[in-house]
């Protein structure tokens, strides 16, 4: 009972400011203090959002299965295209960065060989690769994959290296004492000990990858959430721009929540996580 009323109180606390701002915004645009062409009313954005998400043709004319029809609107297709690019780009970027990071973390020779090059390349923002990406891969998904995997690559790499290099020596000594060496040491001690930081790298990486996908879609492809908001600008559809932005935000939140869930599951042994 008391926990319920406490939750209600918290909910009220969290929603009061956004609700007030939305009301103010609605009032200002309805009363034409703000030009709705520049900043449309929240209600208008909401209606546009629904139109954006709705299937484009009636069910009878679509000749699709019910589920396929339900998701045949512009928004679900954009959402799918964007997620697909993030997943593939993340897979490539993390798939390359993880093994390299593990090698660099465990072997001093590999570290010394690769580190200078990485330090030179790392400060170049992935966005700066756009001209090259288009030159190399043309238009379509390939340059987008390239940019996203670049964005994912460096955070994952740096965190993996540092995670492996900073394993607490007490674990190494205990494992040595128990007879562990070579591969056992790597798989059962070094890797799990480095996991918290590797996961941090993956989480930062997917965040950067998500920025990259929006930018890449504005330039190289003709669908996806990033493309859609740029397209809407050409028609002065500010309500659709905002609806698209909100969708982007929600997708980002969804990705981060999923990563956080994964973190909490994989790190259920880790001290200090249980409070989250």
């Amino acid at each position: 009972m008391s926990s319920k009323s406490k939750m209600a109180k918290q909910l009220l606390h969290a929603t009061i400011l956004p609700v007030c701002l939305l009301l103010l915004w609605e009032l200002l645009t309805q009363s034409r203090v703000i030009n709705p062409q520049i900043l449309p009313a929240p209600s208008q954005v909401f209606l546009r959002w629904i139109a954006y998400a709705r299937p484009q043709v009636p069910y009878q004319e679509a000749h699709l299965g019910l589920l396929a029809w339900l998701f045949s609107g512009e928004l679900p297709l954009d959402l799918f295209a964007t997620s697909y690019r993030v997943v593939v780009g993340f897979g490539i970027g993390a798939g390359l960065a993880l093994p390299l990071g593990l090698f660099m973390g465990t072997s001093d020779a590999v570290y010394k060989l690769c580190n200078p090059l990485i330090q030179i390349l790392r400060p170049i923002p992935p966005i700066a690769y756009i001209p090259l990406a288009i030159l190399w891969f043309g238009l379509g998904n390939p340059p987008a994959f390239f940019l996203i995997s670049l964005g994912v690559f460096f955070p994952v790499l740096m965190n993996t290296i540092s995670g492996v290099r900073h394993v607490d020596s007490i674990y190494l000594r205990a494992a040595q004492n128990l007879g562990a060496g070579g591969l056992t040491m790597f798989w059962r001690v070094i890797l799990p000990a480095a996991t918290p930081q590797i996961l941090t790298g993956l989480r930062v990486g997917i965040g950067v990858g998500f920025i990259c996908v929006i930018v890449a879609e504005m330039i190289a492809v003709n669908n996806g959430l990033g493309f859609r908001i740029l397209e809407a600008r050409e028609f002065f559809w500010s309500d659709k721009i905002i609806a698209g932005m909100l969708t982007i935000g929600l997708l980002g939140l969804g990705i981060d929540t999923a990563m956080n869930r994964l973190n909490n599951y994989l790190l259920r042994w880790h001290r200090g996580l249980e409070s989250k």
Partner: protein, 277 residues
């Protein structure tokens, strides 16, 4: 796999488990050379309980780390189980003050780890882990992660993990130093029980005088820098030892005096170091 049978241990009674002869250890920094151990000679018989006692900086942990193989002596001879110590190994199992349990493994997995490295059959590992969980009253905690355990429980797991190896030698580096007094006492008694049952040779580092008299067959008192053996004091009281008995108290007086001399030298050094800063 060796199992410590009572009669086998009886035969080995006279056998030397650890031989330390003329061991020196020098640490070199850019500024100075620190002699951590100087001419240490110590012979430890199989089944003996040895406490190494001394103030901070007397090299007691350095000596233990040398026997463990983590940091080898600069010169001198160091034999354990009849072989020269050249690297860490499961024949000289160590219990650390910081527990050093693997936080990503459950209690049972921590105990099984050393057995998995030995590539024992799965069933045998499971049986052994069960027996040890039982022995150290850890049954309720078998699937918990170390973060959910108290310090005393963690150290029980660390002891079980080491017992699983069937190592004839147990090295213990201030294992109960971070525990509260009551937990400490229960674990001391438990350790004595284990020591007697499994006939282990124990090398136990501590700075607690009472603890050393309570546990040891012989107390090795070390001097502060350079670390040498100041005196080896045998404790010939039967277990369980009465902390208030006359002999216990007089031993405690004698050892306190010895350790305090070294503690004062350590303190003077600290003050000198602070003033020259």
């Amino acid at each position: 796999m060796e199992v410590c049978l009572p009669d086998a241990a009886g035969l080995a009674e006279a056998q030397l488990q650890v031989q330390i002869a003329g061991v020196h250890k020098v640490f070199r920094t850019d500024a100075a050379e620190i002699v951590a151990l100087k001419d240490i000679n110590l012979e430890i018989r199989s089944g003996e309980f040895i406490c190494i006692l001394g103030p901070s900086g007397c090299g007691k942990s350095t000596l233990l780390n040398a026997v463990a193989g983590f940091s080898l002596p600069s010169s001198g001879q160091l034999l354990a189980n009849g072989r020269e110590v050249i690297a860490p190994g499961p024949d000289r199992a160590m219990v650390f003050q910081e527990y050093a349990l693997f936080p990503w493994m459950t209690v049972a997995q921590n105990i099984a780890f050393g057995l998995e490295i030995k590539k024992l059959p799965k069933r045998q590992i499971a049986e052994k882990v069960d027996a040890l969980l039982d022995k150290l009253s850890l049954n309720e905690f078998r699937d918990r992660f170390p973060k959910d355990l108290s310090g005393g429980m963690k150290q029980r797991v660390a002891i079980a993990r080491v017992l699983a190896l069937d190592s004839p030698i147990m090295l213990m580096d201030e294992p109960f130093g971070a525990l509260d007094a009551l937990t400490r006492r229960t674990l001391q008694d438990e350790l004595l029980r284990i020591w007697m049952e499994f006939k282990k040779t124990v090398l136990f580092v501590t700075h607690s005088i009472q603890e050393s008299i309570y546990l040891a067959d012989r107390v090795v008192v070390m001097t502060y820098r350079p670390g040498t053996v100041k005196k080896i004091v045998p404790v010939q009281l039967p277990h369980p030892r009465d902390l208030n008995s006359e002999q216990f108290v007089s031993l405690q007086k004698e050892l306190t005096q010895m350790v305090m001399e070294e503690q004062l030298r350590f303190q003077n050094d600290e003050i000198a170091f602070a003033t020259c800063d």
